[in-house]
Symmetry: C2
Subunit: 345 residues, 2 copies
């Protein structure tokens, strides 16, 4: 049986061939009325019509695909951000292809090369480091780029980030309000803007609230992961028994979960013995054995704004200006993992 | 400043230009010794060298990219499967581009079109339905395809799936061993092989163990989601108060979490009042307020086997035969959400 052609679909749907083509192409579908588009699509499905993708890609100089580069597919932070990006892109008929670097710079370079060789129209990058030569190269080549969640220093590329410093101030104020005076800190990689800003804001806020956080109570992990948090907290707990601090802030939720694990191993209960707080407000935190206090970043809005900005850049055929960057507001979500300090603590 | 060329990199690294090219291309890197490859890559990074991706894609008829089509980016089932796929592909110098259909057939078609227009060498598909015209079309066109997690009926495409029926038998036997006699069931979409097989195996196993599961205690959700499980369980709980069953098996973990929510809303504690079990063994289950009993499917192995199979298909330039399909063994993980029936139950 011959493969059905666009002409067959148009005939069966009772529309002009140009209308059928517009209806079947997500980039031009909005030019056809909804009812007609639905009918054409239904007929195409029934006949098993599929456009020749090679012919289509030759006709359209630039693809209607966007690449998203994320550092860790297993971090529940990303799915709601991805949903926000997809939702905004879909409205303009753009698709999203996601690649996962697993925090490996070599893989990042290769995956970005690969996306570009398949002619994506632009990139949304969630892997930015504060100093990031690859991003400078991409920017210098005039590619449409938007950074999300993290940004990069001295790079004139727009970034949509959460208000990291505000969030950290909210966490420190929350612990101070609960009566904590001695606060430890487990930071993320200081090579990332999130790691750097959250750590700096922690130090500032501790001073502002006249709390104590000695050097030995502050450490940072080289990964944003549960094992990273576990290792960092284990190190902090080795210094003194019982711990001299009554609370700990981790720079993201996965690090905080690792901190909880290290506490439990030593017979300490998060919330009861030592208060623990995270950052990002990832999914599932309210379902944990000890629900985790966190700062909720606006995942979906971050995704939508980044996609919007990238579509603007593509539409104007211009490279971005950092003046369009935005920092979106965050919210403290107190849960059972933070409580007044234990009287024995 | 002119962009550095491959020649510049080769000169700075002190190697022949062909060696530099091989070292920088992940597909040929294994032909160069490790130390040389590392030196060339370091020099390329330092100089900011980037190959022209358009030129490269024109030279290689077929890309070294694979597309992965997943139904729900927010389901924690997928990240460890993705890691398995990436790990195996990377060994052969292939990249993975992931697209998320959100269980929307129209989006699925568009995203697959888009992957094909960007000339992926093959597809791994996690969105299969039991009857799936799109997959038949793709297969008929001779594309290299492998299904993962779910399969499709009467379609001669290899599939790597978990042993769904075995897992369900393990769950029913576990509840019977605990002393449960009255078991409810919340199934997934019966349009998927996982939904269909897990439901059928449940009915068979209940009969085998001489347990009771009346029609009114069995329902299915039209989505594999927390809200789906919540709605289904709420419906089951409306029938009788207190519930006539002492335990419920949900066909996946997200449905089980939704069941737990519906129980809690009615003041019933999962594990204590009603035993609840899920399926898939997704991440974070051991950290929940009531850790969830589940069947662990071999996520990473599923990914690795599917990738291996696809690489075989691509290498032989052949379309797969269902004889290469494999069902991988699963494991019961009992946790606190299942316990002997409450004496008042």
């Amino acid at each position: 049986m011959a493969r059905p052609t666009l002409r067959d679909v148009a005939a069966a749907a009772g529309v002009h061939i140009a209308t059928a083509s517009r209806a079947l192409n997500s980039g031009t579908r909005s030019k056809v009325n909804d009812q007609t588009a639905e009918r054409v699509i239904a007929v195409a499905e029934r006949l098993g019509y599929m456009p020749d993708p090679v012919a289509r890609s030759l006709k359209t100089a630039r693809s209607r695909s966007i690449g998203l580069v994320i550092p860790d597919i297993a971090n529940p932070l990303f799915p709601p951000i991805i949903r926000g990006i997809e939702c905004r892109l879909e409205a303009d008929g753009y698709d999203l292809a996601i690649v996962n670097t697993d925090n490996d710079a070599r893989r990042e370079r290769r995956l970005i090369e690969s996306l570009l060789s398949r002619k994506v129209a632009g990139l949304i990058i969630a892997t930015a480091r504060r100093e990031h030569a690859l991003l400078e190269e991409l920017h210098a080549r005039g590619l449409a780029l938007v950074l999300i969640n993290r940004d990069s220093e001295g790079l004139d590329v727009p970034a949509i980030t959460p208000a990291d410093a505000d969030g950290m101030r909210l966490l420190v104020a929350h612990l101070a309000d609960l009566g904590h005076r001695r606060v430890a800190f487990v930071g993320g990689p200081p090579t990332t803007s999130t790691g750097w800003r959250r750590a700096r804001a922690f130090v500032d806020a501790v001073r502002e609230h006249d709390l104590v956080s000695r050097g030995g109570w502050r450490t940072s992990s080289d990964s944003w992961s549960i094992p990273g948090g576990h290792a960092a907290m284990s190190e902090l707990l080795e210094d003194t028994t019982p711990p001299a601090f009554t609370s700990v802030i981790a720079a993201n939720d996965l690090l905080a979960l690792g901190c909880c694990d290290a506490l439990c191993e030593r017979g300490l209960t998060p919330g009861t013995d030592i208060s623990v707080a995270g950052f990002n407000g990832m999914d599932f935190l309210d379902r944990l054995a000890v629900p985790l206090t966190s700062v909720r970043i606006p995942h979906r809005a971050l995704g939508e704004r980044a996609a919007e900005l990238l579509l603007d850049l593509i539409g104007r055929n211009q490279v971005g200006s950092a003046t369009m960057s935005a920092e979106l507001p965050v919210q403290l979500i107190p849960r059972a993992s933070t409580a007044p300090p234990s009287p024995t603590g």
